[in-house]
């Protein structure tokens, strides 16, 4: 007897599990049982499981009987002409959805030619083993699985048209590629996915060549001419939001040009772009620290202050200004109300991003890299026909990663571009390499994709033949303009007096534990001290008791609050962090005393 479980609940047992499972499946195919039912017989545990719960991933397969698929060519034609639908195929028991567990009981053939009598199912298409992103990679069966994974991840970071109504949206941190193109080398999935409506890359001419060392270590060199013609150009959008909050006592924020009396008034220059309503105008050219939404808030602790002072009873400045390192044009302004009924102003800033050193680009095969140089068009190597590549790609990026798909795409792209047609690069089902080579030969090119090239600086011919062709390149959303950061001096933390952390707040770059070790290992003792001077302070110490003394700067009076003013008090220079440590020790009832000594 074999136990049967329905959705993990024991419901009974059967004598002959195999036959039981078989009958259930037949009845499901005859639509007597629901189609979302899956059943398996687990040989190891000798149990039957029936699954009907939600949330299982299932996929369609063609049912096979005695080595013959139930989906005949006649049915296929009917399906093509629209006489029958997919649902009818399901109801007729030609196709069924199988979950991961039932798959264990199945024998699935990848191709129709592989079918034997033992097979129970046939794959609809071998591409179904891939997901959406990975099936968008052409010739991916010629590359390693790890590169395929990387390639799929990279496609998600590519800038394109992420939404066709982007002009009406207020998304944070988005980009739109200016001249996006449909890939010359596409896959079956591009059509299904309607990639044409939202492409995320451009077709470029790529040459596999090292050039002056600027494309070492995965860097790429861009042709300045291509950049000027619009390659990789994108717009970066960022919204700035401000809301008129309501406070107790009927007070509210006000979106206006702040009055000069307002506490925290910046400067007239910062407010220059605001119109009468306190909001910038569309099309204004804004730079960092410019106010885009002027706003004032009621004073804090209103009641208390009124009694003591008149001056403090003014409104506070709470405008929204452009973040550090950003800028651009005001693209769109939306003035609405939010769910609480407060007035809400949203301003979208658009910034044109021209490719620059450090911007990240990638092909669809996990071959990512940053721009190492943008060289003038006249210095870009050219072929005998006068073609100048848009990108110079380092050949050292190929052997270690074995991305053959990348190479084949270049060949296919070249053939497709020259013939003026799209090349199908669908995984397992692509135009074969031999055919591409034949076509190239016919077009009068070397069949291996290489061409004679010339050094444009010296005019000399390169000894090697250079592999050159067309490939679909993606601009990824990581741009230096969003990441670049440095500071000399700036805001510090209140507690430790050390610089604050983070780019957004204009923080410092940390000299960490290991960096410190480097200074030590070099014996650069005084430099080490200087680098840690960010929180140095001068404190006064009583020589008598070893505790911190008081120094009244304006009276130039020094005294120890314990020993009085008749003791010797000396200034010392230490890090504020150490002063904090001593204070914390005192709070732990440990009394640290400083014994002073002249060291130098």
């Amino acid at each position: 007897m074999v136990d049967v479980y329905l959705d993990d609940v024991f419901i009974g047992s059967v004598e002959k599990p195999r036959e039981f499972v078989k009958t259930i499946r037949e009845e499901r195919r005859l639509a007597k049982l629901p189609q979302h039912l899956n059943i398996i017989f687990d040989k190891v545990f000798n149990e039957v499981y029936i699954e009907m719960s939600k949330g299982r991933a299932r996929r369609p397969l063609i049912i096979v009987e005695n080595g013959i698929p139930r989906l005949t060519s006649e049915k296929l034609m009917k399906l093509n002409s629209g006489e029958i639908t997919w649902k009818e195929l399901l109801d007729l028991g030609i196709i069924e959805y199988v979950d991961a567990a039932e798959e264990e009981n199945c024998m699935i053939a990848l191709y129709e030619s592989d079918l034997t009598k033992e097979h129970t199912h046939l794959e609809v298409s071998p591409i179904t083993i891939l997901g959406i992103c990975s099936s968008l990679i052409p010739y991916s069966n010629f590359g390693g699985s790890s590169r395929l994974i990387r390639g799929s991840k990279i496609q998600k970071q590519a800038i394109g048209i992420y939404s066709s109504n982007y002009l009406y949206r207020m998304d944070t941190d988005t980009s739109i590629l200016h001249y996006s193109q449909v890939p010359v080398v596409n896959t079956f999935m591009h059509n299904i996915y309607n990639y044409k409506s939202h492409p995320a890359g451009q077709n470029v001419v790529i040459a596999m060549i090292s050039f002056q060392g600027y494309n070492m270590q995965d860097a790429i060199i861009l042709n300045k001419g291509s950049v000027e013609r619009g390659f990789g150009r994108s717009s970066y959008f960022r919204p700035y939001v401000s809301e008129e909050l309501r406070y107790s006592g009927g007070l509210t924020d006000e979106i206006v040009i702040p009055d000069k009396e307002v506490k925290g008034y910046k400067s007239e220059k910062d407010y220059r772009l605001l119109e009468q309503d306190g909001i910038v105008y569309t099309g204004a050219n804004v730079k960092e620290d410019d106010v885009v939404i002027g706003k004032t808030s009621p004073p804090r602790f209103l009641g208390e202050l009124e009694e003591f002072s008149i001056a403090a009873n003014v409104r506070r400045e709470s405008s929204t200004s452009i973040k550090q390192g950003e800028g651009g044009r005001v693209d769109n302004i939306i003035i609405t109300e939010n769910e609480e009924g407060n007035r809400l102003v949203q301003i979208r800033i658009r910034d044109e991003r021209i490719p620059e050193f450090g911007d990240k680009f990638a092909s669809r095969h996990g071959q990512k890299g940053v721009i190492g140089a943008i060289i003038p068009e006249e210095d870009v190597p050219f072929t005998a026909r006068g073609v100048k590549p848009d990108i110079l790609f380092s050949p050292h990026s190929i052997p270690g990663r074995m991305t053959i798909s990348h190479l084949i795409e270049i060949l296919a792209g070249k053939t497709g571009s020259l013939k003026g047609e799209y090349i199908d690069g669908t995984t397992f089902d692509a135009v074969p390499e031999e055919e591409l080579r034949k076509e190239l030969s016919k077009l009068g090119f070397r069949d291996n994709g290489t061409e004679t090239m010339y050094n444009a600086i010296t005019g000399e011919q390169f000894e090697a033949k250079i592999y050159i062709g067309n490939i679909y390149y993606l601009k990824l959303k990581h741009m230096v303009a969003n990441k670049l950061h440095a500071r000399a001096s700036g805001r510090i933390q209140l507690l430790t007096r050390q610089p604050i952390e983070g780019r957004a707040k204009g923080g410092g770059l940390r000299i960490g534990e290991m960096e410190k070790d480097c200074f030590v290992a070099h014996g650069a003792s005084l430099l080490l001290k200087e680098r840690f001077d960010s929180d140095k302070t001068i404190l006064y110490v009583c020589e008598n008791c070893g505790m911190f003394a008081v120094h009244e700067g304006f009276k130039n009076r020094k005294y120890c609050s314990r020993c009085g003013s008749s003791v010797e008090i000396y200034p010392i220079e230490i890090s504020y962090a150490f002063k904090l440590l001593l204070d914390e020790l005192k709070s732990m009832l440990i009394n640290p005393k400083l014994e002073l000594q002249n060291r130098y």
Partner: protein, 382 residues
């Protein structure tokens, strides 16, 4: 003539190196001018090899271990050819060594045999069987209780007894040593154990039946597996488990070459200098096994520091790092509160003589450019 020249350099070049030079030029005809040149070159080379005062050798050593350490494979197990003989290598082993753990995760010994015996594989197998710890269960076929006679009957495996090289007398002696007051008799292939006839003897029989299985009949305690292998042109025995003291007592074992991978055991049996060498050897084995290259002087420095006090201290909270002089230095490395409170209880002074304390205080570190100090002779007051 040349003797005076050598005397001239005494104290400038260490005696050991001078001796080496003397030996090297011993039978060659070299005149004094050339000899002086040689000695000058040696002197220069020696001076160059010296490390200048204030060089942060500790930090450099730490970095020299730390950087290649990032390239090491984690959890790397190496099979030494035969199953059941996998050894911890890689980073885990290095950490284990520098922490000076009491016993390695995979204790291992390489037993060399004296020249007389190490060519004959048969003899080696015999020695190996002698070394291997054998328990009674391994040479027995069946353990049973005879309720009528109130005794334990053990059927022995005669073939295995021969392999191990024991006999009934040894077995009975071993049993009698473990269980006081029992009677051991021999009946053909069977050993009969009779406890003292008392009231509780029946319960005693059951107890003996289980316990007697683990009685060690022969071999060295702790050696769980042995594996004779051929190394170059001799046979050696590799074994899992270590017991250096007892193995070295065995007559056929070559006590000059036999090694264990347990640094603590080596230190206990052979002394601290051997312990230092063991640390160097074992670390080198790991580093070379990973295909890395760390200068041996770094390893030597580390081994020196670990063994300088006469016992092996690990580079950890309980070892070197926990025994630093400075309170602040100790507190900056693990369990700060413990160190601060203990220091305050006894009123410890921190002389601020080392690196970390001065970094905390933002003072120049007494290293490199921070080390030299200016001494000014002031004019005497009249």
């Amino acid at each position: 003539m040349s003797k005076t020249l050598f005397l001239e350099y005494k104290g400038i070049i260490p005696d050991k190196i001078l001796d080496d030079v003397r030996e090297a030029i011993n039978d060659k005809r070299i005149d004094n001018v050339k000899l002086k040149q040689i000695l000058d070159d040696v002197k220069n080379a020696y001076e160059r090899a010296k490390i200048s005062p204030g060089e942060a050798i500790g930090t450099i050593t730490a970095e020299s271990f730390g950087e290649p350490g990032t390239q090491m494979t984690l959890d790397y197990f190496h099979f030494a050819g035969v199953a059941e003989m996998n050894v911890t290598l890689g980073l885990p082993r290095l950490i284990e060594l520098f922490d000076a753990r009491q016993s390695p995760t995979t204790p291992r010994m390489e037993i060399y045999i004296k020249n007389k015996f190490n060519k004959d594989p048969k003899k080696i197998r015999q020695i190996a069987a002698k070394i291997k710890e054998t328990k009674l269960r391994e040479i027995s076929l069946e353990f049973s209780i005879n309720l009528a006679k109130i005794s334990v009957e053990i059927k022995l495996d005669t073939k295995k007894i021969k392999d191990v090289g024991t006999n009934f007398d040894i077995i009975s002696k071993a049993i009698m040593q473990d269980f006081k007051g029992v009677q051991v008799l021999k009946e053909a292939d069977t050993v009969v154990i009779k406890p003292k006839p008392t009231e509780s003897s029946l319960r005693e029989v059951f107890r003996i039946k289980e316990k007697v299985k683990d009685t060690i009949i022969s071999g060295v305690k702790g050696i769980t597996h042995v594996l004779p292998i051929k190394k170059e042109n001799e046979f050696i025995i590799i074994c899992a488990g270590t017991n250096l003291a007892d193995v070295l007592k065995i007559e056929e074992v070559d006590d000059t070459r036999t090694v264990s991978n347990d640094i603590m055991e080596i230190q206990k049996v052979l002394g601290i200098e051997s312990g230092r060498q063991a640390i160097i050897n074992e670390s080198l084995k790991v580093i070379e096994g990973q295909g890395l290259d760390i200068d041996i002087r770094h390893i030597m420095l580390l081994a020196d520091v670990m063994t300088a006090t006469g016992r092996i201290r690990g580079v950890s909270r309980g070892g070197i790092s926990g025994e630093k002089e400075s309170v602040l230095a100790r507190a900056s490395f693990e369990t700060p509160i413990k160190h601060l409170i203990n220091a305050s209880l006894v009123g410890e002074r921190d002389e601020l003589n080392s690196v970390i304390e001065n970094v905390i205080l933002n003072q120049p570190v007494p290293l490199g450019t921070g080390l030299p100090q200016l001494v000014v002779k002031s004019e005497k007051k009249k």
